[in-house]
Symmetry: C2
Subunit: 242 residues, 2 copies
């Protein structure tokens, strides 16, 4: 009667997939879902139809899939477990932020409510995980803040990295090397449309360049409050402010 890991994974991917949809769209195409889950397209269709039966998703043949309220609640608890576990592995177990994803991927399906509450408490009810992703509340409430990216934010300002939307360890280590972890400050020096790149100055004053693809994965907070809050303890800090 508890949802299987498979069901949890489908719901989680629908949630994340819908979030990545171009503005306006709300239906996730089956192909995207299938490839996110690493299954054949037909498999996704079959499973989604079953999920629709159980009232966890709305399914429009040939159009795509979206979560119902019940599905969203379940997806949120999975995401909550995943993100709390990730933060726990970094903060308490001393693992690197680029190596916790796979463990969390498995643990998210087996940690009990008792244990996850204990973890939540032990971490002081954190709001974001090591990548800056928001941690849903106990009752399945998610508040997704809207952020600019290094590709869209105003040039010439100091911004605070808020979120890194890529779990690839190689990319994460690159981000870390350049002082771009959530909570760290960076200045956008220039943006060159033609070269498809962004010029940045790190907290340590070093200059470096990021391609558009990479830059768009770094979500930043451009509000002056954020900059003010982050500046003092700029350095190596792991957990994002706020």
């Amino acid at each position: 009667m508890p949802p299987s890991s498979t069901v949890e994974n489908y719901l989680k991917e629908v949630y994340l997939g819908v979030g990545r949809l171009p503005a306006g769209a709300t239906l996730l195409p089956m192909g995207q879902l299938a490839s996110a889950l690493g299954v054949a397209p037909g498999t996704a269709t079959t499973m989604v139809k079953a999920l629709a039966e159980s009232g966890l998703v709305d399914y429009e043949p040939y159009n795509g899939v979206r979560l119902t309220a019940a599905g969203t609640r379940l997806a949120a608890t999975v995401l909550r477990r995943h993100r709390l576990v990730e933060l726990f592995l970094v903060q308490v177990m001393g693992m690197r932020w680029d190596e916790v994803h796979d463990d969390a991927e498995h643990l998210e399906h087996v940690v009990s409510d008792r244990l996850i509450d204990r973890i939540d408490e032990m971490l002081g009810h954190p709001e974001t995980d090591p990548h800056g992703d928001p941690i849903p509340g106990k009752e399945g409430t998610i508040r997704e803040r809207h952020f600019e990216t290094l590709l869209t934010c105003p040039v010439g300002t100091r911004v605070v990295v808020a979120r890194v939307s890529d779990q690839d360890p190689v990319f994460l280590r690159f981000v870390e090397r350049h002082g771009l972890k959530p909570g760290q400050v960076v200045s956008v020096e220039a943006r060159d449309e033609v070269a498809d790149a962004v010029q940045l100055r790190g907290a340590d004053e070093t200059l470096f360049t990021l391609g558009a693809r990479a830059a768009s994965k770094l979500l930043v907070d451009v509000t002056p409050e954020a900059a003010a809050a982050a500046t003092p303890a700029a350095g190596r800090s792991a957990a994002p402010r706020r």
Copy 2:
């Protein structure tokens, strides 16, 4: 290619089941395996035949099942994960020893080598879990010590509880209330064959009685060294000495 949780559970139960066999026997009857796993007898037969195919167990139709060397190694790593996780949940997460079994039952199948090594290190390479069960080594080595029980040990001696062989939360809380956790000291005052009971005196001098069934679940160390090592810090300590 990694063994499924189901396979891991079968191997674990074969290991534990064989351990509970009367002296001399080495083959676990299918019925016992099936009921330990909570599956129908026929299911166990089918699965065990498959395990025999893969060289993890020796199977003698109508006689029972036993682990091969490869099967033992695998069972040991599962037990290692289970017991390290249990100790971790008690020691680091602050959970009670009577409530960690179920979580460990699930976690044992998903914790990565990296994480389990981290846990092992964080706990200082412990030798036993909160119930006194030995934690197999990284390479699948298990050293099962032989213990007396409160039913078989000499009367009139001070003994140290070494291991509690029952995971039932109600029993565990009872054990705790009477100061019988691993590492704690107790004196065997008298044993009454007819009444089927054992008279005990706890570290705090209170007298109480245990039925044979319960007494046989408490494994004790009767060596003087153990008593000497345990006496000083008798009290509430959770982890067993040595």
